[in-house]
Amino acid sequence: MSEETNEEPTGPSPSDIKQVDESTLGITWTDGHESVYHVKLLREKCPCANCIDEWTGEKKIKTGTIPDTIRPLNLKTVGLYAIQFDWNDGHSTGLYPYTLLRELCQCEQCAAKSPA
């Protein structure tokens, strides 16, 4: 039998989710990676059907409409695979799967590879 690892076949999951400061979310992953996110970026990248066209993937949020004062009111995990935010602009329908959150990671390492 091959050596078992703790690697998940469907990608890493968060081992810790915390508020870093008033506008930054931090996620520590089971593969050791540490992510940080500016909450405004997260809101702009909301994947719900109101914010992104389901078929074309085109962004429906007009640039500049999300204010700098955007903040989550709270967040929760959905099942074992996503995070849902309740925003202070009344929006709350976006489910952010962990795979998406990893893509959006803006830590130094990831930002260098793919700037937002």
């Binding site: 078992e4 076949p9 469907t10 968060p14 903040r71 709270n74 929760k76 995990t77 099942g79 074992l80």
Partner: protein, 365 residues
């Protein structure tokens, strides 16, 4: 040799007994309990993670032999017990239920409900406390398969109700919500509400395992359950033919997408044994189970033969595992129960520390 010296030697011997699934010795796993040595008579419990452990007898014999060989041991009394470990979650529902197993198939007609029923009964026959949720809201067949007459559930006060009980199982089904023969004709969004009720408003009590029979496909009910229920693992049922693979694959990918651990694959109606010639006939060809297992690197949990008595069991309300415990199908189901329980234990032991379902964080400032 003093009893104290013996204790050291006994523990040393038990440290060489390995759990073949968890890859650690039973002492380090914390299984050895209540060790008592009195004048060379050695007595102890081995507390496994499930009463359905498929290697229970093997471990018992190994302990007995190894301890028996120690110089100074006059008698060995090994008692196998079990304490089912719970799959952790922080959701405020199903708090008394330790493990939830979803049984899925990509398509209908593979015998999923029959598998769910017999799996649940086989688990309960090992001594575990088991519940069964019939997730097929449109075509709830589980009450009939268990011989439970259609009566409304008993109220438990404050909007809650008790499950029906039969053959050692606690059972919940949409069939009990309507009069016999009346179809439940609902639009999609209503289904989620019924499932929510099954999750939140049923007094399940303390259960070691809750088996959820998902309806075929990947729709509303599956979404609600995989999103909202703290599932410990999923089982995919397929039949042997190639064409089943396409749909069974979707079932596996569904679990993967919502990160529910795939415990393994069950190949149902694997073969038919003729009672005239004892030969195995592969009526539905063969191979899908094995292919699925290799493709997704998940174990085959069981291969259930197609025996007319399985159907008779379902139709008469006496599941074959109870009605004909010596049949080939019953043996296969008992093995299936053991493998499912073992896989749950394995997944639990590998669980890296991760944020589970039901985690909430209020934002400050």
């Amino acid at each position: 040799m003093s009893d104290q010296d013996l204790q050291v030697k006994v523990m040393g011997a038990l440290k060489t007994v390995m759990d073949p699934d968890l890859h650690k010795n039973i002492v380090d796993l914390g299984f050895v309990k209540n060790l008592n040595i009195d004048n060379g008579k050695v007595k102890f419990d081995v507390e496994l993670t499930t009463p359905a452990c498929p290697v229970k007898e093997q471990l018992k014999n190994e302990c007995h032999t190894k301890v028996g060989e120690i110089d100074g041991v006059a008698e060995v009394d090994v008692n196998m017990t079990a304490a089912v470990r719970a799959s952790e979650h922080s959701q405020p529902i199903l708090t008394g239920v330790k493990n939830i197993i979803a049984v899925a198939s990509g398509k209908g007609g593979v015998g999923k409900s029959t598998v769910s029923v017999n799996l649940a009964v086989a688990l309960s026959l090992t001594g575990a406390k088991v519940g069964l949720m019939d997730g097929d809201i449109y075509g709830p067949s589980i009450p009939k398969m268990l011989g439970i007459p259609i009566t409304p559930p008993k109220s438990a006060g404050s909007n809650k109700f008790y499950p029906h009980e039969k053959h050692g199982l606690k059972v919940v089904s949409a069939a009990f919500l309507t009069e016999e023969g009346q179809p439940l004709m609902l639009r999609g969004p209503m289904l989620g509400g019924i499932i929510q009720q099954f999750l939140q408003n049923v007094e399940w009590g303390e259960l070691d395992y809750l088996v959820i029979d998902l309806p075929p496909g990947t729709g509303d009910v599956q979404l609600t359950l995989t999103q909202r229920a703290p599932l410990s693992g999923g089982v995919i049922v397929t039949t042997p033919q190639q064409i089943s693979l396409i749909d069974a694959e979707k079932g596996v990918k569904m679990f993967q997408q919502v990160k529910v651990p795939v415990l393994g694959v069950v190949e149902n109606m694997s073969y038919f044994v003729c009672d005239g010639c004892d030969k195995k006939h592969y009526i539905f060809q063969s191979g899908a189970g094995k292919q699925l297992s290799e493709q997704f690197k998940v174990p085959i949990l069981g291969e259930i033969p197609l025996i007319p008595d399985v159907v008779v069991g379902g139709d008469s309300g006496m599941p074959i595992v109870l009605g004909q415990p010596d049949s080939l199908a019953s043996q296969a189901y008992r093995q299936l129960a053991g493998q499912v329980a073992a896989q749950i234990s394995i997944h639990q032991s590998k669980e890296a520390k991760k944020v589970g379902a039901g985690f909430e964080l209020a934002w400050k400032g």
